[in-house]
């Protein structure tokens, strides 16, 4: 029985060149991260501090959440609590109705993805425009993100150009965007020059910023001590989204709260270094209170987080700050792509969060790990990702999702390994056939032979050699 991940991954691997590009793209981000890591003498101390601060905050979360709420209210911000995605969507809709919102500009937020906000807004007749360039491309192409930090990295510039043409962006902004940019003879109607396309997107987004009557952002951090929201972007789109409309709605998961700015200093130094290999994001925007004449709302979303907090084996996933580094380093993610996972967050953290969200739908991703433990060593907050995946695997059988082939093999091995005399007999007969001995004959030969020749059995095992006195 193959998992959905392994089937999708095999398909992804049919285009070897694509695998190479995907692998190299993310390996280069990992390498940039390493380069920055080696430059900071206090690197490992920073990771340990981040780990400890997160552990502390998460185990005192109720207190910090209340402190955050109190301070945010003092700043004149409306604070809402949503226990799940439905409640969250209802709150958003209620605020929008009160303000008669017709159009929303959004900066990147995985939480809104998690709660399917966009679909909900559209259902209620509200126009929603993603303003992070990658997210906007995906929105126009109507495809989901394949990575949490670089969501559209798998899309080629030619595909972007085709999409912009189809959506009328080139026709409207192309000529203006091309001014002084394209080489002689290059036609703006067909060009896929990345700078040109970005400029066209910028003009297109600018129109949307001007027309919107609500700006929505996520938040990388909520500071309990001050009630501030901190948003890290590279495009400044969070600032644009909140500077023009008179209504700003922030959506954050409960786990995003940290105690104070001292803690913030630790995370800020780690986030971009891990995520994109930059010393810092281009913009680190702090939101404390509404602009004069404007309104600011913060929605604190649980959606399963408090039950994770009560999960003794897996609560440390709540430390995650969604930097994406575990994906970039994961040799399986790099060679299977973001769409091979059944959960919208791929890679090691996605395997774990998917299981916490819905085991039956997402157990398929548990096979996507060779247990190399690179993710554990990369993670800025030391989430024990591979240990957790190992633990999930131990639970699959009782959930009724164990692979029957693996179960049979494991049971066969159990019998043999518990009975040394049986084991030695099995070995004795192995070399005769010179292929798999009894305890390995259940290996799905086809799967192994997909990429390997069969291992050859020794004429005499070490056991036999030892018995015959040949080990000297």
């Amino acid at each position: 029985m193959s998992t959905k991940h392994s089937i999708a991954a095999e398909k992804f691997n049919q285009d070897s060149g694509r695998v190479t590009r995907h692998d190299q793209t993310f390996w280069s981000v990992r390498s940039k991260r390493d380069g920055l890591a080696y430059q900071l003498e206090e690197w490992e101390q920073l990771r340990e501090s981040a780990n400890l601060i997160k552990k502390h905050t998460i185990t005192h979360l109720a207190d910090y959440l209340e402190q955050f709420e109190t301070n945010a209210r003092k700043n004149g911000v409306h604070v809402h609590w949503a226990k799940d995605a439905d409640e969250y969507n209802d709150i958003v809709m209620q605020i929008m109705r009160e303000h008669n919102v017709k159009k929303v500009v959004k900066s990147k937020s995985m939480l809104t993805e998690e709660c399917h906000l966009n679909d909900n807004l559209i259902r209620h007749g509200i126009d929603v425009v993603e303003t992070d360039l990658g997210e906007r491309i995906l929105q126009l192409m109507e495809i989901p993100p394949s990575h949490i930090v670089m969501p559209a990295i798998h899309v080629t510039r030619e595909e972007v150009a085709a999409c912009f043409r189809e959506k009328g962006i080139i026709e409207k902004h192309g000529a203006h965007a091309a001014e002084g940019l394209l080489k002689e003879g290059e036609d703006w109607r067909t060009s896929s020059d990345p700078t040109y396309l970005t400029r066209a997107a910028r003009y297109h987004l600018r129109d949307n910023f001007m027309e919107a009557d609500c700006g929505m952002t996520g938040g990388n951090f909520g500071i309990a001590e001050t009630g501030d929201i901190v948003v890290c972007t590279n495009e400044g789109n969070a600032d644009m989204s909140t500077s023009i409309p008179k209504l700003h709605i922030v959506s954050i998961g409960l786990e995003k709260i940290i105690p104070n700015y001292k803690a913030m200093g630790v995370f800020q130094r780690l986030l971009a270094r891990h995520g994109t290999g930059q010393a810092t994001t281009v913009y680190t925007s702090h939101f404390r209170k509404p602009r004069p004449g404007a309104e600011m709302h913060i929605i604190l979303v649980d959606n399963g987080r408090s039950s994770i907090l009560g999960n003794i084996e897996h609560w440390q996933t709540l430390k995650c700050m969604r930097c994406g580094a575990c994906m970039n380093t994961c040799p399986v993610y790099r060679r299977s792509g973001g769409y091979s996972y059944t959960y919208f967050i791929p890679g090691p953290i996605g395997v774990n969060l998917g299981m916490l969200k819905d085991k039956d739908a997402n157990y398929h991703n548990c096979s996507a790990c060779s247990l190399c433990m690179s993710c554990d060593n990369v993670c800025p907050v030391k989430v024990d990702l591979s240990t957790q995946i190992y633990k999930w695997r131990q639970e699959l059988d009782s959930m009724g999702h164990a692979d029957p082939m693996k179960k049979m093999m494991s049971a066969g091995m159990q019998t043999l390994f518990e009975h040394p005399s049986l084991y030695t007999t099995a070995l004795k007969f192995a070399p005769l056939a010179n292929h798999v001995p009894a305890f390995m004959t259940n290996i799905k030969a086809n799967a192994w032979c997909y990429g390997h020749t069969m291992p050859e059995f020794a004429k005499e095992s070490f056991h036999t050699l030892w018995k015959k006195g040949k080990v000297k």
Partner: protein, 243 residues
Amino acid sequence: MKIGLFVPCYVDALYPEVGVAAYKLLCSLGLDVEYPEKQTCCGQPMGNAGFQNKAEKLVENYDELFRGYDYVVAPSASCASYVRFFHEGIVKHECEAAKRTMDLVEFLHDVVKPTSLKARFPHKVSLHNSCHGVRELGLSSPSERNVPRFNKIKDLLQLVEGITVMEPERPDECCGFGGMFSVEEPAVSTRMGKDKLRRHIATGAEYITGPDSSCLMHLQGIARKNGEPIKFIHVAQILAAGL
């Protein structure tokens, strides 16, 4: 010092010469080595597949069998690592033997600390740093971390006369074996193996060597399938060359 030699199941069946080399090497360093015959497997294949509960009895047997030794030494990094870091969790009590189980390389490097070896191996080798060796046992510094650089395997190999030790680009990226991973995710596993193999070959080495025959078995299977002539040899065999 009394040493119990642990020759894990697949080394026993497929690579007995690795067990022989480990035995000879340990004896040549003046150690008292025994091979308790009733040994089988470390339990890792079941654990990684999600059935560590099926390894309970085996773990108890292991502890009983090896309890009396000062050290248990295995020429297989991931097996030694599994014993040391997982056995107690499987049976939920302390395991004397597991605590004192070491991979051959770390045992030599950290406990025996030889300053010279009799071995001679006038060849160019590419060193395969296995994941569990790097990230669990600490045989070398993980590339993800900002810690002082070291490599215990390389240190030992450099005591061998005539050897040239190379490392591939991305020196500790996973080769894609991962036990049952290789049969459950054959496409990704094979692709990882091919990439790894290519980087080893690019060093110009005649041999790929490492402390873990399971990775070597995986890479060798892929090399043969693709007609690559590069040779494979376990670190123990190099350190024992000429004994």
